[in-house]
Amino acid sequence: MDTSGVNTLKDIVNTVLFNTGHDKSEFMYIYNYVISAIREIHMLHTNKYKVSKVDVNMNTFTIDWPDDYLGLVYLGIPIGGKIWTLTREDEIVTTTTMINGQETLTTNMGEGIPIGRGQRYGYGATGGKNKYYYTSDEINRRFFINGVNLQFANVVLAYRSSGVEDENTLIPIKYYLSIEFYTRWRIEQRKDSGNLNNAQYWRSEYDKEISQLKAFESPTLDEIYDAFYKVCSGTYQR
């Protein structure tokens, strides 16, 4: 069997130290840069994300962000074995009212009033509209959801996180060179007597490696065909 496709975070750090020849006195700095590199790769350069089932606060129809939340991929509910994503609607009322120390919604302020679905039948029908909506309350690190008959206690949240839990977190080996070049770049920046040319050199190596990583993670030909076929449906045969 070939070498493993993943390695623990700690082993990645030791490998970077081994390859760069840095002294163990720089272990902690390099470790910190490796974590930063992995976070940046997950945030900006890959299509990897975390999916978790999160609780809905039925008093306020809010969903708290997980502690490791960096950015949203989608918010959805399962219907018929598939995820149906909620629609972003920033005009949702995001205030709440404190009553007896409990956060709640007051309808006379429009809080929690479902967004209408419009008329679907008869004259003047507007046709189908989305059923459930969400908006982001960044200050309080939560989502507000809205819709008719909001009765689900959980939703599926897909989000970007750092991807680092502890030093035994498994990191894909395909990220390794990006991590090493990022670390070398940041080490050069850190030095008081750092050579700007060296820092720029490692930055450009990092950028090149990220481009290659993205190319490596591009959809396969089959996946592209499947994406086209998905918008079509088979016809009947007479």
Binding site: L9, K10, D23, K24, S25, M28, E165, E167
Partner: protein, 209 residues
Amino acid sequence: MIKQNLISQIRAKILQEKPTIDRSYLADERRVELDIASTFNTIYFQIFKKIPSNLDRYSKTYYNVPVLQDISSLVYYSALPAKVIQFPTVGDGVWSINEMQSFGANFIPMTENDRLYMASTDVGKITTSIGYIVKGQANGGSNLNGIVEYYGNSTMPSLVRMDLIVDFTEWLLTEDIPIPAGQDQTLINMIVSQFKFQSSHRISNENEL
């Protein structure tokens, strides 16, 4: 080279002419040992400047060094079992520290500055490595060689193994001193050249009445 032999060789060169009271005094074994110690510091520093990892060969291993906890500050520490050479690097002459029977916990040299801020960093929150800071003896303490303080999230072992680049005076007379290749004659010549004797003055002038 055995330490006693090195000292004897240097004394022999110093005393190669007629051993006078002055020369015997200056070439006292203990004095020669101190001169060798300062010369070794110079040689090790030159090696350190070129390739620090080459100093692995010159380290001396101390087993079963206890890890203690200060009652008032709750800081874990070990007394250095020997005097170490001071290098201009984090960790000084404390070359490495490991657990006695495993390499489980990484012991990483760091500065007091690092310790202050590391707990707030990503690595400080998740690493199981233990940082150590080499310090002088505590106020009123009896740790004449200095101490090593430990900081980290992991459980501290009760005993550790230390590799130290020790001062020449810490080697026993019967121990084999590793001398860098090609440096043995240099070492001897550097020390002997410090003992340049002038001809002894006559106390009296026989021509004087």
